[in-house]
């Protein structure tokens, strides 16, 4: 572990940390791309890296790969300095760019072999398996591949390499659902082998299915980090119910918000943690119909992606109210 020597003491990088970024800043001329970003990826985890377009995900990744020079901040990658030790560290990682460009006169198979060899070796059996799994024709020349197939070439090259860390920048944006499934299967295998993955993605189902933890960034800063469960607990479930009797005592429940009572009908939001308790209270009174809108990942991300949170929330609440009013007339009664 000779490379430990380089890690700076200030960042508090632990030996379990595959990627440690603290207070990273990067500007291009007058635009600030990264404005004090933090990112911590534990060894062995699949870490989702999320944020709106232009929020600085790719810039962060390019700093991590030593392609861009950070203006300030601590950056550690596999216990080394990605700027100074780029080539050494790169032997231990594989990268799939969001925009895959291939050499027009090289076939996909040749690119896979070349990149693998430059990384210090390629698992031939694994290469064959992956080509089959992703249904890739390795004899086509770079130019003739579609976007999705170019991405498959980069994916096979990365996944067939024997590396500790995979850095994937929107790797599935051009893949069809079948290939998406193949990708998820492969990433699960990779995690099973104890490798670390940093996955930048906009496909929320993919993030939900694969990631142990996620970091959400916006305008060059980290706004949220945690497990998906952690994050989901921060959201609320919306409940509309028509009850058998008058809704008493609901307002006194903790974690119930925006309660509106209209005769025997109630509308409220409840913190997802306390959903169970609220429902128990409702069934005590007697439920004649119930609509529950669970917190979606979309909601979660929209909350973090939107610029003015309070305003946006109010607007969404208003929209939800309007939708509800409209929906009430058509609602079918369900027997409790």
């Amino acid at each position: 572990m000779t490379h430990n020597a380089v890690s700076s003491p200030s960042s508090g990088a632990t030996t379990h940390e595959a990627i440690g970024v603290a207070g990273l800043r990067k500007t291009f001329g007058r635009t600030t791309a990264l404005d004090g970003l933090d990112l911590h990826v534990e060894t062995g985890e699949v870490h989702g890296f999320l944020g709106p377009n232009g929020s600085g995900k790719s810039t962060t990744i390019r700093v991590l790969l030593g392609l861009l020079h950070a203006d300030s901040g601590d950056v550690h990658l596999l216990h080394g300095d990605p700027w100074r030790q780029a080539a050494t560290l790169h032997r231990r990682l594989a990268y799939v760019p969001g925009d895959v460009n291939l050499w027009p006169n090289l076939s996909g198979g040749e690119v896979i072999d070349l990149l693998g060899r430059l990384r210090g070796g390629l698992d031939k059996r694994r290469r064959g398996e992956l080509i089959e799994r992703f249904e890739l024709d390795p004899t086509k020349k770079g130019r003739t591949y579609s976007k999705g197939n170019r991405q498959k070439v980069a994916l096979v090259a990365a996944l067939a390499s024997d590396v500790e860390l995979l850095i994937l920048d929107e790797p599935t944006s051009g893949l069809d659902p079948l290939m998406e499934a193949a990708f998820q299967e492969t990433i699960r295998e990779v995690r099973g082998e104890g490798r670390t993955v940093l996955l930048s993605s906009h496909i929320l189902a993919e993030v939900e299915a694969l990631c142990d933890r996620v970091s959400i960034i916006r305008a060059g800063r980290t706004v949220e980090t945690g497990t998906l469960d952690d994050l989901r607990h921060l959201t609320r479930t919306s409940i509309s119910a028509e009850l058998a009797g008058h809704p008493n005592g609901l307002a006194s429940l903790p974690h119930v918000h925006d309660l509106r009572v209209d005769g025997n009908t109630v509308h409220f939001d409840v913190d997802t943690d306390s959903l169970d308790e609220a429902l128990r209270r409702l069934t005590d009174i007697g439920v004649r119909s119930l609509t529950s809108t669970p917190p979606t990942l979309e909601e979660l991300f929209l909350r973090h992606y939107t610029d003015e949170l309070p305003g946006a929330e109010a607007e969404r609440a208003e929209q939800a109210a309007r939708a509800e009013t409209a929906g009430r007339e058509e609602k079918t009664r369900t027997a409790p």
Binding site: H69, T88, W103, P104, E110, L114, L118, R119
Partner: protein, 548 residues
């Protein structure tokens, strides 16, 4: 009345298939002119200004008939002028002088810019996928090609008009100016047609441009061979030669202009006939499948560099080899081309006899070879920037390949590749000259050595390009301007009587004129050191800068 909701075009006339195939051409032309609104006017002005500066310098340099007669005699006595500049028909007037001295360069610039413009708006649009976006709108099948050809045609004509106007303005005869301007414009139109065809043949815009540029090179050589041998008809086969055969200011042979006009029409017709034979984005030559696995050799970034550079390098080597053999063979006969009037015999004697003329010829050839060959160094350097902007460097630099190793793989071609191009040319120049003069063992080392002496100057051009790539990557393409400036200074600086300090800017000014003049190692060492320093700064800068 309102019941009919089916969408029917409001117009009653049925669009003819031909009109449909050209739909949107006007919009595309406007788009092309918008995109090129700076670059095309600038080039038209450069061409016109270059010629006008020559025309105005003539009066100052050769004020009286005696001096003009002297110029006529010395040009006639030295066939090496005819390689670069073509035949001279009238050196008594400013216009005739300009048509001779600046005809080739004006035709070269106009033709290449016209050709690149066609490619830029046709094949390159397909390359980048932008064509799909446009074609999905109401854009006819022939519209992009028509727009590209029209834009390049407008540029050629505008350049010709501007050229004629400016040289008339500085005192050249108006009729001759029109003939000269028309000759240059029509040469531009011929290469508009050439590029329209190469855009159909080639699969990539780079290839299309290379094919068009090589066509100019071949036709230039054809003209040069015709004008420096007794096979004058060769020159008549070349559109580059037609620019001179109009004999602007001397005879004004207007009928000659019919040749390029017909050639341009035939080439454009060929392009229109080829276009429907292929799909958008595809070439006429179908691609073959590649290998499923890489050969064992493809395992380093140098091996990849070889794959990327080999095509261009082999092309340059073959081209320069042919050029060397051709001019080597011609060189031994140039003394005979000089007339046998008493005056000519006297001048011949002054130049050191037939032998002296041949050496002067060889030394002009090596100078020309070096200047054109330095373009290879620029091209090889720009390949790195191309790889960078195409986002193909990132996948490499995120493996175990360090920046300097990646750079080294390309630098090998910038430096050693240039040396190889020059060496092959020099070897065949020496061989051609040796064989035709009957003394291979005596002449070959002399001529080969004289050619190789040009290498350090070419490295300086390549070094300048590497420096730009490392230090100001966005301006890497300015390396072309740098190389062009050196060439222009060397070619036209002396005749425009530019100050020595300006002439010394060009590395080619420092190369000893071998085998004509004395050998001196000092300038060569200095040039090599300069090139090394430029490359070193470029390398250091690349290590420090952001990629992408």
């Amino acid at each position: 009345m309102t019941a009919n909701v089916t969408h029917v075009p409001a117009t009653h006339e049925k669009p003819s298939p031909a009109a449909g195939a050209l739909a949107g051409t006007g919009q595309l032309i406007r788009l092309a002119l918008r995109r090129d609104r700076i670059v095309l006017p600038v080039w038209a002005l450069v061409v016109a200004f270059l010629a006008a500066s020559g025309a105005s310098a003539f009066e100052a340099l050769y004020p009286n008939p005696a001096e003009r007669a002297g110029l006529t005699a010395s040009v006639a006595a030295n066939p090496s002028f005819a390689i670069m500049f073509g035949p001279a028909y009238d050196l008594e007037t400013a216009g005739g002088f300009t048509a001779w001295r600046f005809g080739t360069i004006a035709a070269l610039l106009t033709s290449l810019i016209a050709a690149f413009t066609v490619t830029r708006h046709t094949r390159q649009e397909e390359d980048t996928g932008r064509q799909e976006l446009l074609s999905s709108a109401v854009v006819g099948r022939y519209a992009p090609l028509t727009a590209g050809v029209t834009t390049a045609g407008l540029f050629s004509v505008a350049t010709g008009v501007l050229l004629a106007a400016m040289i008339t303005g500085v005192g050249a005869d108006a009729t001759g100016s029109v003939a000269f301007g028309a000759a240059v414009a029509l040469c531009g139109l011929v290469f508009t047609g050439v590029a329209a065809v190469t855009a159909q043949l080639a699969e990539y815009s780079r290839t299309a441009n290379t094919l068009a540029g090589s066509t100019f090179g071949v036709l230039f050589l054809l003209r040069a061979a015709g004008d420096t041998s007794d096979a004058e008809w060769l020159s008549w086969l070349s559109p580059v030669g037609w620019v001179h055969r109009v004999r602007a200011f001397a005879e004004n042979d207007w009928w000659v202009l019919a040749l390029p006009a017909a050639a341009a029409l035939v080439l454009c017709a060929a392009a229109y006939a080829l276009l429907p034979q292929r799909d958008v984005g595809m070439s006429l030559i179908p691609g073959r499948p590649g290998r499923a696995t890489a050969t064992s050799g493809l395992r380093t970034s140098l091996a990849l560099s070889w794959r990327l550079h080999r095509g261009a390098l082999l092309g340059w080597i073959v081209g320069f080899g042919v050029m060397g053999m051709l001019f080597g063979t011609l060189a031994s006969g140039v003394g005979d081309l000089v007339g046998d009037s008493a005056e000519m015999k006297r001048m011949l004697q002054q130049m050191g006899g037939a032998r002296g003329i041949e050496d002067a010829f060889l030394s002009s050839i090596t100078g020309m070879v070096a200047m054109i060959g330095s373009m290879y160094a620029v091209q090889a350097t720009l390949r790195m920037r191309y790889e960078e902007t195409a986002l193909r460097v990132e996948p490499l630099l995120t493996t175990g390949v360090g920046r300097l190793r990646w750079l080294g793989g390309h630098l090998l071609f910038v430096l050693a590749g240039t040396a190889a191009v020059l060496a092959v040319c020099g070897a065949l120049l020496g061989l051609g000259y040796g064989l035709s003069s009957g003394d291979v063992t005596g002449e070959w080392p002399r001529v080969f050595g004289a050619t190789l002496a040009q290498l350090p100057a070419m490295w300086v051009v390549g070094g300048g390009a590497v420096l730009l790539f490392g230090l100001v990557p966005r301006a890497t393409a300015a390396a072309w301007a740098l190389a062009a400036a050196f060439v222009l200074i060397s070619m036209f600086g002396p005749i425009l009587e530019l100050p020595q300090a300006v002439l010394n800017v060009s590395p080619f000014a420092h190369v000893p004129q071998l085998p004509h003049a004395e050998f001196s190692a000092t300038p060569l060492l200095w040039l090599t050191a300069t090139a090394a320093a430029l490359v070193a700064v470029g390398m250091t800068s690349l290590r420090r800068r952001d990629i992408g």
